[in-house]
Amino acid sequence: MNRRESLKALGLIAAGSGVLATACKQDKAKDAAAAADTEKLPGVQDFEHERNKQLHAERFFTEHEMATITVLADIIIPKDDISGSASEAGVPAFIEFIVKDLPSHKIPMRGGLKWLDVQSQKRYGNAFIKCKEEQQLALIDEIAYPERAKPEMQQGVAFFSLMRDLTSSGFFTSEMGVKDIGYVGNRPGVWTGVPAEVLKEHGFDPEKFFG
């Protein structure tokens, strides 16, 4: 089988047309994502599917916690000219799932959110989400830069680092985030090496295998 026949076997070439049916495939992918919650994909083991269903049925964070997560996620990844915000990409729902999936995140997240509210209460007399934006950011500034944070803020630093990692994971693995970061693979093609103009830009010789 040559490469063209490989692609046919995958159903990625519309019969006779020779055009990659990428658009159609992406629609299917979206459906699959929506179905992933309830429908078992081929190649997913029974116990994995049961576990996914069970985790989706559970609820960990309270409404107040979810609201705080949403505010924090959007502070970490706001909307800009290229793409939307973390919450627009579904990050809070991802975080709700992942802490159930990886329960070692549960206490650091719950306790960290509480830590944040206690700090906000002490400073501004309000829960974090009820504080003014500049108050919120003043507090975040003290926990977002590990190397310059004060010793008494270290618990906050640990929490914010976890929150930041979960947010970047959730955002840049969403459809919006994958597009934003410019990942253009995961599709059939032919790899003939680094494009010549990129090789030149980096000072490599396109004629040589190792540049």
Binding site: P78, E147, T173, G182, G185, N186, F209
Partner: protein, 578 residues
């Protein structure tokens, strides 16, 4: 269990093959194509990459975005199983460690492996270091089988003429990615050679290979391939063998014991259906074990009889002994030259594009043998945690304004940093020769059974000074390459307190040696054909027969040796009938 009953299969098979990975798959393939009636028993479910691969799925199709919660290499990885299996424990002797990876599925670990396909060399079979043991066979005896495996399964690479890194029959290799060009340049300056990778991925069509597609460069071999463009035992050996009509597969069949008669010959096996828990026995004229080095040893040790009081084929007391994995250590960093890099699709193949074969002269070093280096990094598909390193290092380089800032952050600036650093990472991992030592072993735990009532393995494995010295050498090499390529190291540099980042034994998933071959029945379990000294119709075809691995990932050698053993079985049968 009032109606406890063992079902007996009336058919007598010419051969029973236990396990369907590289070793079992190849034996089944050769025997079935020669016309033998073969039964293959697999402890896990049937798996067909064409249907079951999670290839080409997007990260958002996994609720955990590819995190490794239920699969050690992530949600899309092909392996069913891991270092821990529910209801199938193993134990370790205090003060020792071993991590035992098992993939329970048709094709076993060949569905997800790295496809790095290296031959062991002349000095790996007959070492000259005075420390490691020699094999009863030479490279020249195995070479014709390596050649046939190359043609039959397909491998890319380049002819380099390096003495102990034998060339094969190669398809064209994939070109290096951008970070790999920087690595090659830096390594050269550091005195470390880099050559094109060698992987069992079809980069070209071949008239000798039927029913398989050609690689379309998604870089996802670890998920197994829907068009069979890479080597999995399931797609390339077992399913074609089934098509001959001579190989029958029973899946979800966990073999309990090899049955023997009064003369001590194997007569068949008993197994439990893991789904119904029904017990079965089935008879065979020859029994071939390819269950994985430790699982085959466990099976032999659990098959006790009056003829084999210490376990089947274990009069030497060496079944389970000489267990050895590869050594492994790694280091990560990023290349400032690749910040804000131009985007394009560089998925490439899912095996290695480049690697460094062992280059040093051991006479100057504190350890025998060596290691090779595998490299990573680049514009790969996003998945859980893939940018976690960025907030830790975004303070290490000046921004567009020419000034450094504090690491971490949030907001539009951080969002831009994620884009800036994506694809700039590089990683390197050493894979080296661990010594096959008699006092590293697995044995039957006298007190524990698994959920099927089968006694479990207990491991006793400790690294020696040689392996620690090797890991130290790896770390020094990695730092030197990183320095020469202008990379910034992002890992903590591991020192003596962590054995220089040396991974726990078993973590590299290259375990072998538990049923070593040799000419003397007192110092080996199998003869040089993989046949048990104590039981003429019992053979082992996984990595158990390995006397001593080289630094070469062992699958290609398992395939070559299994092919050789299967043809020996055919010759023996001919002699008996003739």
């Amino acid at each position: 269990m009032a109606d406890y009953q063992i079902k007996e299969n009336p058919e007598v098979f010419d051969a029973i093959v236990v396990g369907s990975g590289a070793g079992g798959g190849m034996a089944g393939y050769i025997l079935a194509h020669a016309g033998l009636k073969v039964l293959m028993l697999e402890a896990g479910p049937f798996f067909d990459p064409a249907k079951d691969a999670l290839q080409l799925r997007w990260p958002w199709e996994s609720p955990r975005r590819g995190a490794s919660t239920t699969r050690p290499f992530g949600d899309f990885d092909a392996a069913f199983g891991g270092w821990q299996l529910d209801g199938e424990p193993y134990t370790t002797v205090n003060g020792t460690e071993f991590e035992w990876f098992r993939a329970r599925m048709l094709g076993g670990r060949t569905n997800h492996w790295g496809r790095i396909s290296l031959r062991m060399g002349p000095d790996d079979f007959k070492p000259t270091d005075g420390v490691t043991d020699e094999w009863p066979i030479t490279y020249d005896e195995v070479k014709p089988f390596y050649d046939r495996v190359d043609r039959m399964i397909g491998i890319y690479g380049t002819v380099e003429g390096i003495r102990n890194e034998p060339d094969g029959i190669f398809m064209k290799p994939p070109k290096p990615r951008l970070n790999e060009l920087y690595i090659a340049k830096g390594a050269k300056k550091a005195g470390v050679p880099v050559i094109p990778g060698r992987g069992s991925v079809l980069t070209e069509a071949s008239s000798e290979i039927k029913g398989r597609g050609t690689c379309f460069y998604c870089g996802q071999c670890g998920r197994s391939c829907k068009v069979y463009a890479d080597f999995s035992s399931s797609s390339c050996l077992v399913m074609p063998a089934m098509k001959t009509g001579n190989l029958k597969v029973i899946d979800n069949a966990m073999v309990r014991e090899v049955l023997t008669n009064e003369e001590g010959l194997a007569t068949g096996v008993s197994y439990v259906d893991t789904q119904s828990l029904q017990e079965y026995t089935v008879r065979g004229k020859t029994v071939v074990l390819g269950a994985s080095a430790c699982e085959s040893a466990r099976l032999m040790l659990n098959s006790k009889s009056s003829a084999h009081p210490g376990g089947l084929g274990n009069s030497s007391g060496l079944v389970g002994r000489y267990l050895h994995d590869s050594t492994g250590a790694s280091l990560s960093g990023f290349l400032p030259q690749l910040l804000d890099r131009k985007r394009y699709n560089e998925d490439g193949v899912g095996s290695v594009h480049i690697y460094s074969p062992w280059w040093e002269d051991n006479r100057k070093l504190a350890f025998p043998r060596g290691y090779h280096i595998e490299y990573g990094g680049g514009l790969h598909m996003p998945s859980y945690g893939f940018l976690n390193w960025v907030p830790g290092v975004n303070g290490k380089v000046a921004g567009k304004n020419g000034e450094k800032k504090a690491a971490g952050g949030y907001g539009a600036e951080l969002k831009q940093d994620y884009r800036r650093f994506y694809g700039a990472n590089v990683g390197m991992a050493g894979r080296g020769t661990a010594l096959a030592r008699k006092d590293n072993y697995c044995e039957i735990d006298p007190t524990r059974v698994d959920k099927f009532g089968i006694p479990v393995l207990r491991f006793h494995y400790k690294w020696a000074n040689e392996e620690i010295a090797q890991a130290k050498h790896m770390q020094e090499t990695f730092q030197s390459i990183m320095h020469e390529m202008g990379a910034i190291i992002t890992s903590d540099i591991p020192g003596p307190e962590t054995l220089y980042g040396l991974e726990a034994p078993g973590k590299i998933i290259h375990e072998g040696g538990t049923t070593r071959m040799g000419n003397d029945p007192k110092t080996s379990v199998l003869n040089k054909w993989g046949q048990a000294h104590d039981c003429k119709n019992l053979y082992v075809v996984d990595a158990g027969p390995f006397v001593q691995q080289g630094d070469k990932n062992l699958t290609w050698t398992i395939l070559a040796l299994s092919m050789r053993t299967a043809e020996y079985i055919l010759e023996q049968k001919k002699k008996l009938n003739g």
